[in-house]
Symmetry: C2
Subunit: 345 residues, 2 copies
DNA sequence: CTGAAAGCGCTTACAG
DNA sequence: CTGAAAGCGCTTACAG
C-alpha cells in the first residue's frame, strides 16, 4: 500500500464534527477552545494519523522552521565540527537545517533559498567577499549571520574567533623557544580567518625583528595534500625550517605526514603548529599543537543572533569575537624522544 | 533597508501587462508563449529581482526539491564522507538536502518531514530496526531509501556494501599471514553493517578451526575513545593478540592510538585492521589497513533510486550490494621497520 | 467558544 | 497564445 494521499484538516473536521478552523486552532494549541471540542479533535487527528502540512502553514505564517548552513568543503574537519554543532544547537531550537557548501555555488543558492522562502535565514560559516550577490543580499538586510569567517565591508551579525591573537600566540611561542628559521604554510588570502592569522603571526615576528623568509612561505590549496606538498618542499631545502606554522589543522596534518614520510623528526628537528584544534589533533598518533577555536560557542552565538534577527529585523548588527587558546602537544614538545611507529616500507 | 516584503507574480504581471497566469507560464518555461510576451515577462522579473515562492509552488506541485538525509554521528568520518557525497550528487540533481542525525531522534523527525511535505523523500544512511515508526512508515511506502545499513524485515530500496565479504577478506588475510591470537573490537550489533562484518569474519575463522577467544572480544561505543580503550585493555593481557580487527575505521584509529601510547609496535607486534577506508586511513602517519566501501557509488545509487521512486511509487523495491576491497597499508605491513615520530613525554 | 470567509503565492485545467 | 478562475492546506481576523 502506498497511501501518499494527504489527510487534511478538513478530514479531521469532518470526523470531529467541527469546522476546519477549529481543527487548526486546536492543533496550533490555541487557548480559547472548550475541552470537549479539543479532545474530539485530538482524537480524530490521532485516529487518522494526521500531520499538518508544514508548507501550507509556512505560507501563512512565513516561518518554515528551517535554517540554511553554508560551509566550505567538508573534507576540512573544522567544517564537519561546525556542522555537527549547528545540527545539535538547531535541533534544540526545533529547527531543521539545510546544507550547502561553497563549492557548488552554495552561497548564491542559500541566498536564493531565503528569497524563495525555503529557509528562514542562513548561517554562513565560510563567507568570503567574492560574491556580489551575497554582499548585496546581506547589505539589504537578509536574515544572515556570519560565523567563523567575517566580512568587514558588510553590516550584519558576525561571530568569530580572535584569529589575529591566535597567530600572535604562535609567534610568541616560537620566539620564546628560540625558533629561528620559521616557515608559514597557507593559501589564498580570501578568508578573513587566514588573513588575520597571518597578520597576527607576522606582526609579532616583525616586532622581534624576525620574519618569514620568502623561501619559507608556501601558498597551497587548503587540503591535506596541500599541506603535505608544502612541507615536502620545505624539507628539501638545504636550510630547512625549524618551525612551521600552518594556517589550519588540515594543512598541519598534511605537513606532519610529509615530515613522517621524509623522516624528519618532529619536534626534534622541526616544530609544526596548526590552527582550529579539530578533534583528531588531540589523537596521540597525531598530537598536533594548535590554536583552539571555540566552535560550539561560535555556533551557539550564531544561531541565537539569527533567531533574534528574525524576530527583530531592524536591530543593529552585532560583532562578537571570542578568545582562543594555544594547545601545546607533541608536535612541538621540547624533550627529545624516540618512538617506534608503524610504517610501510 | 530591510525589504523582506515579497514580490509576487502579480507584481510582475502588472509591470509586464499580462495576466499572472502568463507570468507563471513563462517562468515555468512553458512552450506555448509568444516571444514578445516572454521577453516582457522575463525583463520585468529581472527588473524587480523576482524569485518565485518555492513554498507556493511546492503546494501546487507537491514537489519541493528537498531530500532528507539521516546519518549517525558526524564524529564518525564515514558519515561525513557519505554526507559530502550526498551533497554533491544532490546538487547535481538540483536538490537541496536537509540533515538529521540518529542521535536527536532524527529518524522519526525525517519521517515526519515527509508527512509534512517538507521533503520529497529521505535517504537513511544509518537505519536500524529499532524504531517502529520508521518501520511502519517504510512499510507503508514512504519514499525512503536505505544506504550503507540495511534492514531485512522491511521492503524498500536498499544499497549497501558487501560487509560479509569484507569481514571474510580480513579473516582470510589474517589466516594467510599466520595470525593466531585474533581479537575483534566492535560494539552493539544493532547495525546490519556490524553484524555482517562480524559474521563474515567469524565464519571464515571458524572454517579454519580458528575463533576469537572470548577474552579477545571487545564491545565498546563506536567512537575513537571506544577503540582506544578496547585496545588498551587488550594490550594489558598477559597473552596479547597479534591481530586486531576493528568493526570500523574510527575504532581502528582509536586502537592505533592506544598501541602508540603503550609502545606496542604496529604491525611488528600486532596488526590492526579497520573497515570503511575513510580518507585519513590513507594518511601516512596513520596508514591503516582497511576494507574500502565504495561510498560515492552507494550514494549515487541511493539518490537515483529515490528519484526513481518519486516518479514511480509502485515499482518493486530494489536491493543492491556492492563489492568491497581490502586496502593493505602500514598497520599490517609485514616487513620490520623502525621509525621515529613525535611524541610528548 | 466556534464558524464562515479571505487569502498566503503559486499551477493548471478550462475557455476563448 | 492568453486570461479568468479554482484550488493546494493551512491561519487568522471578523462576526456572532
Amino acid at each position: 500500500m502506498k497511501s501518499r494521499s494527504q489527510i487534511t484538516s478538513h478530514d479531521i473536521a469532518k470526523v470531529a464534527k467541527v469546522s476546519q478552523a477549529t481543527v487548526s486552532r486546536v492543533l496550533r494549541g490555541a487557548e480559547n477552545v472548550s475541552d470537549e471540542v479539543r479532545i474530539r479533535v485530538v482524537e480524530a487527528a490521532r485516529a487518522l494519523n494526521y500531520s499538518p502540512n508544514a508548507l501550507a502553514r509556512a505560507m501563512r505564517t512565513s516561518r518554515i522552521g528551517v535554517i540554511g548552513v553554508v560551509v566550505a568543503r567538508l573534507s576540512n574537519p573544522l567544517y564537519t565540527e561546525i556542522l555537527r554543532a549547528v545540527n545539535e544547537v538547531a535541533a534544540d531550537s526545533g529547527l531543521r537545517i539545510v546544507l550547502w557548501d561553497t563549492e557548488g555555488a552554495g552561497e548564491v543558492a542559500a541566498i536564493d533559498a531565503i528569497r524563495q522562502s525555503l529557509v528562514d535565514g542562513v548561517i554562513f560559516a565560510a563567507a568570503t567577499h567574492t560574491s556580489p550577490v551575497l554582499k548585496e543580499a546581506i547589505a539589504s538586510g537578509a536574515p544572515v549571520v556570519l560565523i567563523n569567517r567575517t566580512v568587514d565591508s558588510v553590516e550584519c551579525d558576525q561571530v568569530s574567533s580572535d584569529n589575529f591573537a591566535g597567530g600572535a600566540k604562535v609567534a610568541d611561542y616560537f620566539i620564546q623557544h628560540m625558533r629561528r628559521r620559521i616557515a608559514f604554510v597557507s593559501g589564498v588570502r580570501e578568508a578573513s580567518t587566514i588573513r588575520e592569522r597571518e597578520a597576527g603571526f607576522l606582526d609579532v615576528l616583525a616586532r622581534e625583528g624576525l620574519s618569514v623568509d620568502s623561501s619559507l612561505l608556501r601558498r597551497v590549496p587548503f587540503t591535506h595534500e596541500g599541506g603535505r606538498m608544502a612541507m615536502r618542499s620545505l624539507l628539501e631545502l638545504s636550510d630547512a625550517p625549524d618551525a612551521v606554522f600552518c594556517a589550519n589543522d588540515l594543512l598541519a596534518l598534511g605537513a606532519l605526514d610529509a615530515a613522517f614520510e621524509m623522516r624528519c623528526p618532529v619536534p626534534d628537528k622541526c616544530w609544526i603548529v596548526g590552527f582550529d584544534d579539530v578533534e583528531m589533533a588531540s589523537w596521540s598518533t597525531l598530537s598536533l599543537t594548535t590554536v583552539r577555536q571555540p566552535v560550539r560557542t561560535l555556533v551557539e552565538d550564531g544561531i541565537r543572533l539569527l533567531l533574534d534577527r528574525l524576530d527583530n529585523p531592524a536591530r543593529e548588527a552585532e560583532q562578537i569575537v571570542h578568545p582562543v587558546d594555544l594547545m601545546i602537544r607533541g608536535s612541538t614538545g621540547r624533550k627529545p624522544y624516540v618512538h617506534e611507529s608503524r610504517r610501510q616500507l
